[in-house]
Amino acid sequence: MNNPLYQKHIISIPDFSRQELELIVDTAQSIKQQPRPELLKNKVVASCFFEASTRTRLSFETAVQRLGGSVIGFADGGNTSLGKKGETLVDSVKVISSYSDAFFMRHPQEGAARLASEFSSVPVINGGDGSNQHPTQTLLDLFTIYETQGSLEGLKVAFVGDLKYGRTVHSLTQALSLFGCEFYFIAPKALAMPDYIIEELNAREIKYNLHDSIEEVVDELDILYMTRVQKERFDETEYQHMKSSFILRADMLKQVKENLKILHPLPRVDEITTDVDTTPYAYYFEQAENGVYARQALLALVMTNEFGAQ
């Protein structure tokens, strides 16, 4: 069995090759179809949330338990030696890695997971480092796209909303660009995709289109990835004016392709009206559920040699 991820750290999407991403997606699919309740029996996984999180932490901890492992950890860094006594992250990591067989962490500062991986004796999985990376979100998004479309190849994928600050959108664009997808970026000018992503796409001659409203392109899409536009980034008049172009309603979906799926990393506020939930295109709650399978796949790959390319 060739498993290139065994005992590796999961820190940042650009670290992965196309083959490795495919291996994670295949493993998630396999575990979803055939649960492995004893795979991590007698293994201890530390759940280290130096910053609070709801979905990510619950889904990681569910993933460990569904594979038969035990979880130790903390949900708020403020109650740790690091928060209270001024211990460095480096020292905390040395100790945590001596107690556990792997650990996942979220931290409010960019680069924390990379740093942790350099001082840990066991695999580290990044559950979000400041505004930098959130690779497990991208991996669950890839799995969901694969599950709904049967392939990751050559899809037409639109991203809507806050494309400037949304780390999810940046990493997913980087990952899908390995599979020849075409992109549609729909955002107010103030929240447009950052230059470094556009430069990467240009350098690799990947097709992308910029649009001002969802309706301009919705009928052509395979995946419509919605994100939240944070109200606090705009003044009230500007927000009201701009909001209508970046909100998805069920009546906009009359002519769409049959295979279209709408995704959202959640939590949503009002960018997808609730009448969309009952259409056959809404897939965001299944996407959240897939977070558990994708994280099980990662744990299975970095902690065991059971899965891998034949």
Partner: protein, 152 residues
């Protein structure tokens, strides 16, 4: 007409030539060249064929090592370094931009973990058209040269 040296020759040491005008003072400050109490001669805005104007630095009894020379390339990509012994140039080389710069600059991202931990900063140097950009190994953000206060 007799040709005259613009800056007095030195017996032993290093001459850094072809520094873009305006960068000479920054280089002195960055490398703390004056700290060693050696005699330093600096020429600012000297006439130069290729560059129109250039700065030039002569540091006596000091030899620039390769690591320093590479760091120098971030200020002055076309600089040449002349190592002098007994008033003769014994070695002359062009600086070359390093692939990585460790422990030299603080990350301009104030929320980067490298500020709070007992580690060296670490940047990957990338050439983009005529410019140099530095990508932080930790926070993964890419910065223009001008964002580093040490280089500006």
């Amino acid at each position: 007409m007799k040709k005259k040296l613009q800056v007095e020759a030195i017996a032993h040491g290093t001459v850094i030539d072809h520094v873009p005008a305006g960068q000479g003072i920054k280089i002195l400050k960055f490398f703390q060249l004056s700290a060693a109490q050696e005699r330093i001669t600096v020429g600012l805005n000297l006439p130069s064929g290729e560059q129109q104007q250039k700065d030039l630095i002569k540091v006596e009894n000091t030899v620039f090592d390769e690591n320093q020379a590479n760091q120098l390339a971030l200020f002055a990509p076309n600089a040449t370094i002349n190592l002098i012994e007994d008033f003769e140039v014994v070695r002359k080389f062009h600086v070359s931009t390093p692939e990585q710069v460790k422990g030299v600059f603080a990350c301009p991202n104030s929320n980067c973990i490298s500020h709070n931990e007992p580690i060296d900063s670490n940047f990957y140097v990338r050439h983009q058209q005529q410019d140099i950009k530095l990508k932080c190994h930790y926070c993964e953000k890419t910065f223009d040269r001008g964002l580093f206060s040490e280089l500006d």
